[in-house]
Symmetry: C2
Subunit: 401 residues, 2 copies
């Protein structure tokens, strides 16, 4: 059994970011930028007014002065002339400050009429003027590679005049559920069988992490079926299997794939749930074999697959982001396996986050997993922890799961 | 000017959840459930083994006893007979516990061979048996309406044998940018003009909140163009405009839409950035008019559009989720407008979250908005706050923006 941290390191060190593709700006949302976005324009392109009012010379803007309004400069319609002494130009937010003017008189600080305007408050040089390049200058990098593009980033790339973006291709993840006993929802259920939940839960998790799932037909617990299905998926960036990872006679994934060129790195991790986890390489395609129990499969996916998807996506990758909460009930000392305990989250009146472990932790129980807000992480050999102890948690909402 | 909370209440009270549609299970991820998911099967369907080992009578499981192995029960292949005294059945995780047996002997607690098995540890009644219905029973509601379906929920709906789900239709949001001075990225930029960023930033925000954006062609600052574009969008669940909301002569949205049957609810909010914000109804379609400045538009979208999208989506809706951080620098007293101040987030060595307001807050500056991690919320007339004061924040990552 190897520790969780070592297993994760070995997984991440075997993976590389996907190649780059070109997508249109609107498709760029949520994708990982692969090349810097260099501004192609300066923003604002010239000195512009930040307010509605009058462009004038600050020296002329004494209270009670009478200035002749010689033109108008709405946004997008620059005034061509020059503002001379005793003159003003009507201007609107975003309008270019005309030559000669060096201040903006707010319209609420002026009385206007009959082709003239008169300040009721003084103005000063540079007031209410946005300088050219205040936001960014042409040639500067406004977005750096290796970030997942937000709505704000899309706005910034648009403003920098980029209709196309270079992003990493979505990692393509083949998902293979194995087992004689499982049927797809709505399909006839074999005697003694159950409905398959892992493949579609994992597909949703892959999509939530920016990947593209490829759900393969269920493979029976039979060497040929598993081998055939798995080799069909070797064009993926990563092959995920569920089931068949344990030590029983009916756990076939390893033995079925060996003759197909599967090379094992490790398959036992000191964690709970999820000890049997396969990591290896199937003829050049990295392969992660998750346990068959639904809770074990999803917890292992959170701990190993999400970081793997981040690495494949071109994002900084490491352990999934952890937070802190106070224990809502006493916990016993831990044994030598790292424990991930389903817990409900609540916030006290003082804003403190409390994680209360659910009483039954059986790894087949999906309903309690769906209800849980977080996993409480218990290190190997952690001592008993009374209620109120701060503990490390993995909050599901923070990782989009 | 009306307060932010009142404006939000008036917006939410005018909106209703979209109707329901049927989607396949994999499409259900991220959608808002509209009808309960009632389990169609019991899970586990029968008492099953939680481990690999031997099913037997607990009374027989004394250390050193010699039990005859009469058959095998892998998952999906139930053993048809009955386990009698002195007998055992080889069993695997998920296999049905055969009639007669009431305990599971772990394989690591047994020595086996020659058709017999002998316990090296005692077992007790019910040990390592998952009872039928431990996870859920047929007929029970495993998922309730009004929640956005996570990967865990999709797994649970699958296990409950649902290939289809009833969800709310994605809210369709028409997005209309107005202005003579703006051009789409890559298109020729008019003299004195700038590249349009609002429409695509807002479209990304709509998608991030589970909506379906419909980006309309840019409308020139001209009554006919605005009226035509806006009425084209009356089949949407909500029409969003940007620009043309202020008081200047060139702010045309209200005057252009009046003759088209636009009925105004309010248009001035005591907030910064974003005072001019239009809310009303265009012949039955709710209409939100955002300011034209990119930062104002996005901040107003965070504060008003995200809650509106939640209401339209069938989710519980209220003010956008707020957190707390410590101020990273002194802030002056606030005036009568609620202030949303872009800030960088950082975590100290003690884990405390600090929000440091960016020095320049001009509402045209998209680059600083993209870099910011949060908005610091300053209530009207808030007193001066020294560095270290706890303040309310809206964290962008927590709302997917």
């Amino acid at each position: 059994m190897i520790p969780v941290a070592e297993a994760l390191e070995r997984i991440l060190s075997a993976l590389h970011p996907t190649p780059t593709e070109t997508v249109s700006l609107p498709e760029g949302w949520g994708r990982v930028l692969a090349r810097p976005v260099i501004a192609r324009v300066t923003q604002p392109p010239a000195d512009v007014s930040a307010m509605d009012g009058y462009a004038l010379r600050a020296a002329d803007a004494a209270v009670g002065a009478r200035l002749r309004v010689i033109g108008s400069a709405p946004a997008g319609h620059p005034f061509d002339g020059t503002v001379g002494p005793g003159e003003a130009v009507r201007i609107f937010t975003g309008g270019a400050v005309p030559a000669g003017a060096d201040a903006i008189l707010l319209q609420e600080d002026a009385t206007a009429g009959d082709g003239f305007v008169s300040p009721t408050e003084a103005s000063r040089q540079g007031r209410h003027i946005r300088r050219a390049g205040l936001d960014f200058a042409a040639g500067s990098a406004v977005l750096s590679p290796g970030r997942r593009l937000t709505a704000r980033d899309i706005g910034l790339a648009a403003a920098a005049n980029h209709p196309w973006l270079q992003v990493h291709r979505r990692p393509r993840i083949g998902i293979l559920a194995t087992g004689d006993e499982i049927a797809l929802p709505g399909d006839p259920i074999p005697p003694g069988g159950i409905v398959s939940s892992n493949a579609h839960a994992l597909a949703a998790l892959v999509r939530a992490s920016g990947g593209e799932p490829l759900v393969l037909p269920i493979a029976a617990d039979d060497r040929d079926a598993i081998a055939e299905a798995a080799t069909a998926a070797t064009r993926c960036d990563l092959l995920l299997t569920t089931g068949g990872a344990s030590v029983g006679e009916h756990d076939l994934v390893q033995s079925a794939l060996g003759p197909q060129g599967f090379s094992l790195d490790f398959w036992k991790i000191a964690m709970r749930p999820g000890k049997p986890l396969i990591w290896g390489d199937l003829r050049g395609t990295p392969m992660l074999g998750l346990p068959g129990n639904p809770v074990s499969a999803l917890v292992c996916a959170v701990i190993f697959l999400i970081p793997a998807l981040r690495r494949l996506s071109g994002l900084p990758a490491g352990p999934v982001g952890a937070g802190t909460a106070l224990l809502g009930r006493d916990m016993p000392a831990n044994d030598r396996r790292q424990d991930y305990v389903r817990a409900e989250l609540s916030r006290g009146p003082d804003g403190a986050l409390t994680a209360t472990p659910l009483p039954v932790q059986d790894s087949s129980m999906l309903a309690s997993l769906a209800r849980a807000g977080a996993l409480v992480v218990r290190a190997p050999h952690a001592p008993a922890a009374p209620a109120g102890t701060p503990v490390e948690i993995v909050e599901f909402s923070s990782i989009g799961v």
